[in-house]
Homo-oligomer: 339 residues x 4
């Protein structure tokens, strides 16, 4: 044996789960102990994830055994009870599902359509927007990995909220690649329906809105967010275009300075000199932010990530790295893939 | 001879020009008299536009001769002098370039980097957002065809402006297919650079912003517009997501009613029950609008068009139809192409 | 009433059915009498086909009533019994499904997994590769519309077969857009699975192979065909790359002459000077063919179509036009859409 | 210092060069000493390759200094003279350009339009199709990295050639993503021209044909190859569909066994149970092969790679690993990226 931590991935047949396995397979301090998927016991992982054939792994139906870390990539409602059992068994649990993102059980009930399965665990969960949560993450045993839209949006907005600059309600117009809809998506997600097309969705209310508002409130800006997500015809990539009313009129240089102050030393958040294309982040844990003045006391802040990277599996591993005291970039330091 | 009007297309080697020729070739009252492109005299149109091979046309370098109608698809600055000569010769001129869109010569100079070539013509130009300009179009000899972004944005916003409901500055977050950049686009527009990617651009100011503001002012709403255009990885299609502060709090039904009142009898503008995908309009002159309340006195209005259809060539022909007293849908009534 | 023929489209909720409705809506001699889809009685067509919203049609569950023409876009096995009833009622039936493509009931049984539902009708069916079947089509009451792959392949190969030049077995390596898989395709056809990917399929035998062999045999070349279809990441478009051993060594000019002799006067089949891109045909009934010598007595012949145009709905209307004595290009003469 | 080898990448502003830098940045035994691009001295690499911004590298105009390894990603004709100087200076040279692929200077002259710049070096170059060249690679100082099409084709065909089974001329119908055309591609490679389109090209003869024939001859099959490359609308990915006449009639199981015998122990070549999608290999050095019987003594063999991975940068590093005695998978072991 190695000295590596033993890791399980639960929900390994989906897109986020597959990305976790891909990244973990190259992590220098990790041994993949087991990969789990419902009703597929004994099936080769390559049947669900042909690109992972080189790893030679086999799926397990059932819960992880003795592991040091468990990543849960499950539908909401399904991870909380399992997390409870894994925590009891001593594992670090990183939930990339939604069960622990909203701190308030009532908010969970209102947005997810039922009572929280394990409300007592909510206070223990650390909301893992890594760059703004390191102190808590170092002590964490249960990490709520942020949603993809909140990750991009809060990376853009948190520096402004912390500086007390957010003077008004915020608009987030977000564009996501289709993989955000998951592998179980239906006939509306056929290639033929989506190629060469862009549309907005969830105008009646998307579960990531209260998560963004919670994050802004934590950073000192208790404002409403108008959140309109869109699907764009690409597999990966997410761009949040955030419209801000500011308490001070900042020019382009001042906006940039604010972002550089916040992220200049960060390994994964880069202040770009031009509006970042989502492709810059594809396949990676990197994020690119950029801000411009659009009028008196107004600014637009852009944030580009890979929804499966920094928006899901990448950040989950980043959070594990912090929680276990590893080099924060271990296994996820690679730049994006282009073209 | 037929009784058909004789039509010239100038700039037939580009994307908008090619779309004009495609649509005009099926117009029951049109004879394509000549198709023009610089430095390509005598070259088969199919060399520049292989999909138009079935038409058997040949390009001409030089100005149109005796024609009833001339469509100009030229870079800004190039169409105005030609328009002057064609008007003198008695032709109806539909300029799908930018020379006559801004009514104010100073605004033109500020946004297009030089004095207007034919300022005396500006008062004669009718801004051809057809649905809101029919009376003027019936008398028009010079039509300024709106830009693609203004077309989508103003279809969404004009009903609110006319009703005196626009209480605040407006945000337009727009997403366009790549054909909006034209055929002369450079290395940043290679397939490899743009596939699987979304980005914002022209944050420092896009020429379509003053055009949208001019259109809103004409409709009674003298407000500022924050305009952020994006490129999405598709060839055609444009979605304008418009964020509005309203003077009255309207619920979803009232928002819908307002749009239905404005467009219920229109052949080309459809109030859709769900957020419209741009693909719904591909290849057509149809537009789809939809509105939702996003908070107290706030709404989002969506508008989807084909940037080369209602956003360029389709609307140009619609404007010709009105100006010449043809059936407004002649040659452009076909629905979009799916999938 | 008009003087127009009354037409029904059965299977109007699918891709080929939707394309039929789109094209028929612009046909000068057609009135769309009814559009049919199972279990959707009374539902707006726009619910299944949002791009057809401008037509304002409503779906019917049930068989067409008194109509002059019925287009059947149904799964194999479903159209034959309906065709029988419609023929009895006096309609012209154009089946764009597979039930009447193979002339031999045993071959049908072998390839389609069961006995033919209406074997007595087989001798009455005219195989509608229009350019090579006009004489029969003029008398036809039942048209078997060719499959998409056979259409492209046989347009490429028939001139060689008729000239007695096919000296050897033929290889057809075909590439199709995803719409060929239909709207009912499952999870393997999600955008995320197919974008940025190409693959072969049906290596064990595809039903279009015997259809291509039947067509070649009719044209005088009783050879075997190796047929390997591929999916390429685009919605529409089909390219057949055909590898031929010839009984005579023909140079490029002679190959081109052979194609020009066959198709020089055709309105829909164009001999192109360069390898045709499938996009040239998108949205249209046009086909583009091109041939090159690849070695002694060897040639490659390329054929590009829109699988939903000349490969399905377009050719179906072309066949109706011939059968009813209309102008062959009526309603389908438009060139392709680019870009 | 580390004990790592010092590596230079020449031509780092292109696609293959960028991929080399991306992969080398994660190689445990490599230090990137310098990255070179003409006329860009002192420019941040991120200006040419925004996705590589996290690496913080700066471009150099000029030749590598003291390095252990130089990767050359240059146009043909440009790498040979530089290779000569680098070899003299003691570096291992891996040329991912074309200068050393054809062993015969006359063949080079015929296909590349001019005399070979350094014919004396040709005998020293090892053709680096790694799986079939390890013994030579271990002694190599100059590696000719195979072209993308030859890599895929020869992985498919070599086992048959070595077994003496190739009885006839071979047809390779290949489909490549657009990145194969490079970053300098012109207006025909705009997104708008290529999306939703597939086409063949270079029918008059492609430089990779003699390279495939040379590889087959080395493996014992001196046959002609008909090679027809196609562009498919995706950025990365290459599929070679190879049609073979065999000296023995092999069933599917025997075909599979042959491939498993050849590649069963290989870390990068996988015998798949179904026709492999190119996406399986995206971003990786993995290749997937599959064979099926298509008739008596006939077979089709499929081979899917990432043209920039196993088809260029990945294999180049694999070759370096072998030449320097590193673990062959070092830095390139990661599976592909999906979706």
């Amino acid at each position: 044996m190695t000295g590596k931590v033993r890791v399980a991935v639960v929900g390994a047949a989906g897109y986020a789960g597959g990305e976790l396995v891909r990244l973990l397979s190259g992590h220098p301090s990790v041994e993949i102990a087991s990969v789990h998927a419902r009703s597929r016991d004994g099936v080769a992982l390559s049947e669900a994830q042909p690109h992972l054939a080189p790893l030679g792994l086999t799926l397990v139906d059932g819960e992880p055994g003795e592991v040091d870390v468990a990543f849960l990539a499950l539908p909401h409602g399904a991870s909380a009870p399992l997390a409870a059992r894994l925590l009891d068994a001593g594992a670090l649990v990183v939930d990339i599902g939604a069960d622990f993102r909203l701190r308030d059980a009532d908010a969970y009930a209102a947005w997810y359509g039922g009572p929280h399965p394990e409300p007592d665990l909510l206070p223990r969960a650390v909301y893992g927007l890594t760059e703004w949560a390191r102190d808590d993450l170092r002590e964490a045993r249960l990490v709520a990995n942020p949603g993809c839209y909140p990750t991009a949006s809060l990376l853009a907005l948190t520096p402004f909220a912390r500086a007390g600059l957010v003077a008004d309600d915020v608009i987030v117009d977000a564009k996501s690649g289709i993989s955000g809809a998951g592998r179980g998506a239906g006939a509306d997600y056929l290639f033929t329906e989506l190629t060469e097309s862009t549309k907005a969705y969830s105008l009646g209310g998307h579960r990531h809105r209260p998560e963004i508002e919670q994050g802004l409130a934590s950073a000192g800006a208790a404002v409403n967010v108008t959140f309109v997500p869109h699907l764009v015809p690409q597999s990966r990539g997410l761009l949040a275009t955030c419209y801000l009313g500011l308490s001070t009129d900042l020019d382009d240089a001042a906006l940039r300075d604010l972002l550089v102050d916040a992220y200049g030393d960060e390994p994964f958040v880069h202040v770009s000199e031009d509006p970042p294309a989502t492709k810059r982040a594809t396949g990676s844990n990197h994020a690119f932010v950029h801000a411009r003045r659009t009028g008196p006391n107004r600014a637009v802040v852009l944030s580009a990530i890979d929804n499966l990277g920094k928006g899901a599996a990448g950040q989950a591993i980043q959070n594990m790295n912090v929680a276990l005291g590893f080099d924060e970039t271990a296994g996820i330091g690679a730049p994006g893939i282009h073209p």
